[in-house]
Each structure stands twice: as structure tokens, then as C-alpha cells.
């Protein structure tokens, strides 16, 4: 096993843990940034330097946009419907299952750890999209899900060419733009990032 890949996978899992457990918006964005920046090394193979630089700059711009939206609204978030600890357990289980699946396949093109990282990413993203009740977690889930889809390609033996790397960077950036817009627009209605209706004001009740 490649030690760099293992270390990068550990960083990816750490980022996912921060993203899932935190109720502070800026910490969630930091977790997403950590995960996405470490992902190329965890997914196996390192892209060309120019492509890596483009990808890194695009990801930094994307997380900056999310951070900007948070600073203009609020950093405080409520817990998810499932709960951060349960989601973290789900992600850990997904990582183990993915790694075991990769190890059980005799094809040498399918590495265990990158497959585990990709499945863990997909589980975390799915959890955030399904159980998140605020626009920031939906944005984080969307960015992680795109990353998971990209990471699964090499994890299943495919080749990541520069076109995929560039398309991934552009996809993350445009998703962050749309998510930041969604966060700011939603916050204009109810002054936080939650998607639920405003609580009823009983003073006007008759």
C-alpha cells in the first residue's frame, strides 16, 4: 500500500469528521477544504502540476465563496436530523466497507484505500444532503458528492485524465457559486441558513 495514499485518506477522514460534527459554519467549510485538498493524493496518482495548481486554486476560491457567504450571514448552525456522531459512524463504516470491498477484488487496478475513501466521501455527502436542514450543509454535501463521484473513477480502475480534473475544478467552483447564492438568498428571508419556515409569531394570532 502507498503510505502517501493512506496518510491522505486519514486527512480526508479527518476533514469529513470536522464537517459532520461541527455546528460552526466556518469549521464546516474548513473541513470541506481539508477533504477536497487532500483528495487527489488519497484517490491515488498525482495529477500534473499545472492541473493540480488549477484544481487547488479553484477549490480555494470555492471554499472562500462559502466562507464569504457565512460571514455575511451567521456561523451558528443547528444539528442535523441524524446527528453528527451517528453520521460519523456511518462514514467510518462506509470507509471500512469500501476498503474491504477493494481488498476483496482481485483486480490490481482497484485499490482498497482509495475505494474506501471514495465510498466514505459518498456516504458523508449523502448524509449531509439527506439530513442537513440548512443551505450550508447542503452546499457541503453537494461539493463532497461531486468529489466522491470523481474519486470513484480511479478507485474502480479508471483513469483520471486532465479533462476530468479540470471539469471537477470547474464543477466545484460553479457549485460553490450557486450554493453561496442560495445561502445569501435564503438568509435574506429568515436571517440564518436554515431552510425551515420561520417560527410562527403568536403575537399576531387571533
Amino acid at each position: 500500500m502507498n503510505p502517501i495514499s493512506i496518510a491522505a485518506s486519514a486527512v480526508v477522514l479527518l476533514g469529513l469528521g470536522i464537517t459532520l460534527r461541527s455546528t460552526n459554519g466556518r469549521l464546516i467549510v474548513a473541513g470541506v477544504a481539508l477533504t477536497l485538498l487532500a483528495l487527489p493524493l488519497a484517490a491515488g496518482g498525482s495529477p500534473e502540476p499545472l492541473v493540480l495548481a488549477f484544481r487547488t486554486v479553484a477549490l480555494l476560491m470555492a471554499v472562500f465563496l462559502l466562507d464569504h457567504a457565512i460571514r455575511r450571514t451567521t456561523v451558528l448552525l443547528g444539528p442535523t436530523r441524524l446527528g453528527g456522531t451517528a453520521e460519523l459512524g456511518l462514514v467510518a463504516a462506509a470507509f471500512i466497507l469500501g476498503a474491504l470491498l477493494g481488498a476483496s477484488i482481485p483486480d490490481p487496478r482497484i485499490p482498497a484505500i482509495p475505494l474506501g475513501a471514495a465510498v466514505a466521501l459518498a456516504a458523508a455527502a449523502g448524509s449531509l444532503l439527506a439530513f442537513g436542514t440548512d443551505t450550508l450543509r447542503i452546499a457541503a454535501g453537494a461539493m463532497l458528492l461531486i468529489a466522491a463521484g470523481t474519486a470513484i473513477v480511479p478507485a474502480l480502475g479508471g483513469e483520471i485524465d486532465p479533462a476530468i480534473q479540470l471539469a471537477f475544478a470547474v464543477a466545484e467552483l460553479t457549485t460553490a457559486v450557486a450554493a453561496a447564492w442560495l445561502m445569501l438568498t435564503g438568509a435574506a428571508v429568515r436571517h440564518d441558513l436554515e431552510l425551515a419556515d420561520r417560527p410562527r409569531d403568536l403575537r399576531d394570532a387571533r
Binding site: 499545472l50 459518498a122 455527502a125 444532503l129 443551505t135 447542503i138 454535501g141 453537494a142 458528492l145 461531486i146 466522491a148 463521484g149 470523481t150 470513484i152 473513477v153 478507485a155 474502480l156 480502475g157 479508471g158 483513469e159 485524465d161 486532465p162 479533462a163 476530468i164 479540470l166 471539469a167 471537477f168 470547474v170 464543477a171 460553479t174 457549485t175 457559486v177 450557486a178 450554493a179 447564492w181 442560495l182 438568498t185 435564503g186 435574506a188 428571508v189 429568515r190 431552510l195 425551515a196 419556515d197 420561520r198
Partner: protein
């Protein structure tokens, strides 16, 4: 070169729109110009074009060229109609971003990169979905649309990753799983039943001007990418039994969505469920398991997106002219907006086809390929059910004018010079009043522009009865910014009862001489603040006054044609209903050219060829 110009126009235009985001008019103009440049680049594109970007080559074939031409034109027209009838500030940026990303998705050679690009387009266009008056249900619908775009993209990526670059080594079971996953992704994206709820909610809540982008072109591009991937599976010649499941969902979607529109007279819902029903044909193309089915699906996708774009522009025309979107409110609409009627008729031909046209033939081929000849014909007949509400709409249109339509705009062309000739050119004519809307009388607010008003307030002196010259509801977008030195803007309570009761939050500008009534687009409908610098309504009212004064002075010595040429910007201002209808009609005619295969869409999609081109 043309491909490069296409992407450059989208990128530069998008950057310009972002840079001028705080100035809506220049941003809208840049958006229109950049979209027009994309259209010209797509038209000028040769049959086969390529562009090298580093080690990657973007490659366009005739089908992709036609897709980009149709998409750019439809999105340009939807922007023009949106500008006339209800502007959405984010629409130019979303349009240009989507055009660029869809262009990349269709031309890039790597399937996974194409799927990433088209998923990115799906998330990005969500920014055009919300209206200015935002509510939490609308935000939730937008978030739901955002979610489904990402989830569909992920499922498509996983399907591609499972099969890899050499699907010939993959077992049939794995191929079946990947095919099912891709079909599920397409079903989510086009809103097939039973996963139609997010798309239906998004269509109902979104701005109508954004619907061609949100519900037609980006989902169509997603389906093109999915069909391109499916063609590689079909080329293996491996038939999987899973296609029966996909086929069943396609048939269910067509039948149920076509039947649902019978019980609702809301035209936006009619449009939304039509989109969903059309998505069923895309599923049939995926399940067809043959090159012919994929070719039919590719041809159908362009017809589908064009037809729904035209219909969205027609519905937007109804909303803009009459502020109505229900059939029962539109009594006599055909008398006031006959061009919209022609455009709607053309849209029906593009969407449903006539025997002998391409759109009819591909629908029939897809249905018969899935169900066999008699059942396929029955399915196509069921898919014609949405024509019943259209017939009801047509019957409503030829009836005598109802209150809503009578109080609304019309497509009648009024030259600015003629309008000016009826206007009093005395100094009191420079006073403008903004008629705030009933139902409740509101106090008169005087907004000094640069100096105190001359004369008193003019309460309710607006003889703008339907049929009177200039009684149409017009906007002053594009009018000159010249402003008289002495001017007052008065907010009073008067106006047409039926229309005003419906448009409770949109003020109407009426000249004191009573010859024109001007309603403002939503983006500019903010209430003027007393004592503030004249912006929005008052600036436009001032521009109208300046235009009239110039026209009155000149009308004594020049003919109407000369006035018309000189006052071209004012024509846009005064006849927005007509111009929006004309733009819709142009799109409808182009749609007919596609649907009747005059442009060679069938051959470009591979119909009649031995093998299907894989976009």
C-alpha cells in the same frame, strides 16, 4: 475558431455580467449581447469543429452544432421576453454559464468530464430560479433543484466509473446495474414519475423566464451525455433485462403526466407536466437498446427543449400582458395577442408533431420501439392528451374579452410619434404621476425629482380605458436617461380596477395628459422614497416625458417612419408586448424548421445512418 469564440463569448459575457451586477441595465445588455455572440458563433461553426485545450481536445459534430444553435437562440429569446415581461437579474449570468458548461459537456471527449460539466450546469442554473419576492418555499424548491442536479450527476459518474473505459470486459450484470443507475440519473434530472416532485416544485416556483434554462436545455444536455454513454453500451450488443424496468417507468411517466394536465388550468403546471411527460420519451430512448432509439432520442431532445422554450415564452407573454396564468382568466386573449397564438400553435407542432414531421416520427419510433406498433401508437395518442387543455385555451382565446384581458396589454403597434402627437406639450405635461395600486386608497406622496413640483398633484386623471391610444401596459427599459430640470413624481391611487386589483404591488406610470400607461418590470417595481434621488420609476417617467417633447416638436416637420427610426429605443419601451411576441414567433419558426427537419437535425442525430454518433 468558432468553438473558441463560443466559449470566449460565454466567459467574457459572464464576467461582464458579474462585474456590472449592481447595474442591472448594462448587465442585461451585456448578457443579451454575449448570448447573441454565442448564437452567431454556433451558427458560424463548421460541420466539424475542434479546439485544443492543453492535452484535451473539444470536438463538435453537426448534432452538437445544431444543439448549441437551438439552445443559444432559445435562451436569447427567453432573455428578451423576460426583459419585457418580468426580469430576473441572475438570468444572463445563469444563461451564459450554462451555455459554456453545456458546450464543454457536449464537446469534451471524456464521458466523466462531460458528466461533471453538465452536473455543474445543473447546479449553476439554480441561481436563476428565484423571483425577487422570495419566500422560504421558493428557497426550498431551489435547494431541492440544486440537490437533484448534484445527485443525478453523481449517479451518472458512478455508472460511468463502473463500466470504465472498456465496457467490453464488464459482465452483463454489472452493465445492467450501470444502465439502471444512468437511467435513474436521467429520470431524476428530467423529473420522471415517481421522482418528479422536485422538478415539478421547481418549475412551479421558478421565474417563468428561467424555465427554458432550468427545465429544458440543461436537462436535455444531461440526457444527451447519458445517451452518448448508452451508445457505447448498445454498441456491445449486450441486451440486459433491466431495460424493461426503465421502459415501464418511461411509459408510466408519459401516461400519468399527460393525464394530470387535464385536471388543471394553470398554464405553468401544464408546462411543467409537459416537460415531465416529454422526459418519459427520453427514458424510452435509453431503454430502446438500439442505435436507432438513441438517434431518435437525440433528435427528440432538441425538439423537446425548443418546444418547451417556446411554450415558456408564450406563458410568460400571458403573464406579462395580462398578469394571468390560468385558462379561465384569459378570455379573449387571442384577440389581443394573436402572435402568441401563432407561436403556441407552432410550439404544439414542434412538441407533438404532425404525421410526416421529424418530431412526430421520433416520438412514434420511440414508443413503437418500446411497446410494439399498436401499443406504441396508443402511447403516442395518450401523449396527445395535453392538447385538450390547449384546445380549451384556444376556445377561451376567441371568446369576448374578459376583464383581465381587457385591462391588459396587446400586440397592437403604436408608433411613438403618434402617441406624442396626442400629448399636451405645455409645461404641465412634464408632471408625472405614479398610480399606486388599489385595493386600498393610499395617501398621495410627492417625490421631488430635482426641484419642487410645478402645479398640484394630479389625482387619478388617467383615462386609460382599454382600447384608448397607448392604453397598453408598457415598460421604459432602454429609454433615454434624459431628465427635465423641473419635474415632480406623484404617487396617487387610481388606475384600472381589474388589473390593479391583480397587480397589487406593481405601480403604474401614467402621464398627466393621459395618453400612456406604463407598468414597470418587477426588478424596477421598488416604491419610490420621498425625497430621494429619482431612480427607477421616476427616471423612466422623466425619460418618457423627454421623448414625448422631442417627438412633439419634430412631429410637425417629419413623417411617422422617420420618427419610428429615430425613436427605435422608444419603440422597445412602448411596445414590449409586441416585441416579446415577435421574438417568441421567431423562435417558434426556427423550432418549426427543426421539427420538420429542414435544418437536417435527423441526419445530424444519426437517423437513417448505420451507426449512431456518440456525442
Amino acid at each position: 475558431m468558432a468553438l473558441f469564440v463560443f466559449f470566449l463569448s460565454a466567459a467574457v459575457g459572464g464576467g461582464g455580467v458579474v462585474a456590472l451586477r449592481e447595474r442591472p441595465k448594462p448587465a442585461a445588455a451585456i448578457g443579451l449581447l454575449a448570448t447573441a455572440a454565442c448564437l452567431l458563433a454556433a451558427v458560424a461553426m463548421p460541420e466539424v469543429a475542434s479546439l485544443d485545450v492543453g492535452s484535451t481536445t473539444l470536438h463538435a459534430d453537426p448534432y452538437i452544432r445544431l444543439f448549441l444553435v437551438a439552445a443559444a437562440l432559445a435562451l436569447l429569446v427567453s432573455q428578451v421576453v423576460g426583459l419585457a415581461h418580468g426580469w430576473q437579474r441572475e438570468l444572463p449570468l445563469a444563461t451564459l454559464g450554462a451555455l459554456g458548461l453545456v458546450g464543454v459537456a457536449l464537446t469534451v471527449g471524456t464521458p466523466a468530464a462531460a458528466m461533471l460539466a453538465v452536473a455543474a450546469a445543473g447546479t449553476f442554473v439554480v441561481i436563476a430560479s428565484l423571483e425577487r419576492a422570495i419566500s422560504m418555499p421558493a428557497v426550498r424548491a431551489a435547494a431541492s433543484g440544486f440537490r437533484l442536479a448534484v445527485v443525478a450527476g453523481f449517479m451518472g459518474l458512478v455508472a460511468m466509473a463502473i463500466t470504465g473505459e472498456d465496457p467490453i470486459f464488464v459482465s452483463p450484470d454489472v452493465l445492467a446495474g450501470a444502465t439502471l443507475l444512468m437511467a435513474a440519473a436521467v429520470a431524476i434530472r428530467v423529473g420522471a414519475i415517481p421522482v418528479h416532485a422536485p422538478v415539478a416544485r421547481l418549475i412551479e416556483r421558478a421565474r417563468t423566464a428561467a424555465l427554458p434554462l432550468l427545465a429544458a436545455w440543461v436537462p436535455a444536455a444531461f440526457a444527451v451525455v447519458a445517451l452518448g454513454w448508452t451508445s457505447t453500451i448498445v454498441a456491445l450488443g449486450t441486451t440486459t433485462p433491466i431495460v424493461v424496468v426503465i421502459m415501464a417507468f418511461g411509459v408510466l411517466t408519459i401516461a400519468v403526466a399527460s393525464a394530470v394536465v387535464l385536471i388543471d388550468d394553470d398554464l405553468v403546471r401544464w408546462l411543467g407536466y409537459g416537460v415531465i411527460a416529454d422526459g418519459g420519451f427520453v427514458l424510452l430512448a435509453l431503454a430502446g437498446d438500439s442505435a436507432a432509439a438513441i438517434s431518435s432520442g437525440l433528435a427528440w431532445l432538441v425538439c423537446f427543449a425548443l418546444a418547451r422554450s417556446i411554450m415558456a415564452c408564450v406563458v410568460l407573454g400571458f403573464q406579462g400582458a395580462f398578469d394571468a396564468r390560468r385558462t379561465r382568466e384569459l378570455e379573449g386573449w387571442l384577440r389581443r395577442t394573436p402572435l402568441l397564438g401563432v407561436a403556441l400553435l407552432a410550439a404544439l407542432v414542434v412538441a407533438f408533431g404532425l404525421p410526416g414531421t421529424l418530431s412526430w416520427q421520433v416520438r412514434l419510433d420511440l414508443a413503437q420501439g418500446a411497446l410494439g406498433a399498436p401499443l406504441g401508437l396508443a402511447l403516442v395518442a395518450i401523449a396527445l392528451l395535453p392538447l385538450v387543455p390547449v384546445a380549451r385555451l384556444g376556445w377561451t382565446g376567441i371568446r369576448p374579452l374578459g376583464d383581465v384581458v381587457a385591462a391588459g396589454g396587446s400586440e397592437r403597434f403604436v408608433l411613438p410619434a403618434r402617441t406624442v402627437a396626442t400629448t399636451d406639450a405645455s409645461p404641465t405635461a412634464t408632471q408625472q404621476e405614479i398610480v399606486a395600486t388599489p385595493p386600498e386608497p393610499t395617501p398621495t406622496l410627492v417625490e421631488p425629482a430635482s426641484e419642487p413640483p410645478i402645479g398640484g398633484s394630479a389625482m387619478g386623471s388617467a383615462p386609460d380605458a382599454p382600447g384608448a391610444p397607448g392604453a397598453g401596459s408598457d415598460t421604459l427599459w432602454g429609454a433615454a436617461d434624459e431628465q427635465p430640470a423641473t419635474e415632480a413624481t406623484t404617487l396617487s391611487s387610481s388606475g384600472r380596477a381589474a388589473r390593479a386589483a391583480r397587480k397589487a404591488s406593481q405601480p403604474t406610470i401614467v402621464s398627466q395628459a393621459g395618453s400612456d400607461a406604463t407598468s414597470l418590470p418587477d426588478e424596477d417595481a421598488a416604491s419610490p422614497v420621498p425625497g430621494s434621488t429619482p431612480r427607477g420609476p421616476s427616471r423612466r417617467a422623466s425619460a418618457l416625458v423627454g421623448m414625448r417633447r422631442a417627438g412633439t416638436a419634430a412631429s410637425a416637420s417629419a413623417g411617422p417612419l422617420r420618427h419610428a427610426l429615430r425613436d427605435l429605443p422608444a419603440i422597445w419601451a412602448l411596445d414590449r408586448t409586441l416585441l416579446a411576441s415577435l421574438a417568441t414567433l421567431v423562435l417558434a419558426l426556427v423550432g418549426l424548421a427543426f421539427a420538420t427537419d429542414l435544418v437536417g437535425l435527423g441526419a445530424a442525430a444519426g437517423l437513417g445512418a448505420a451507426s449512431t454518433p456518440a456525442p
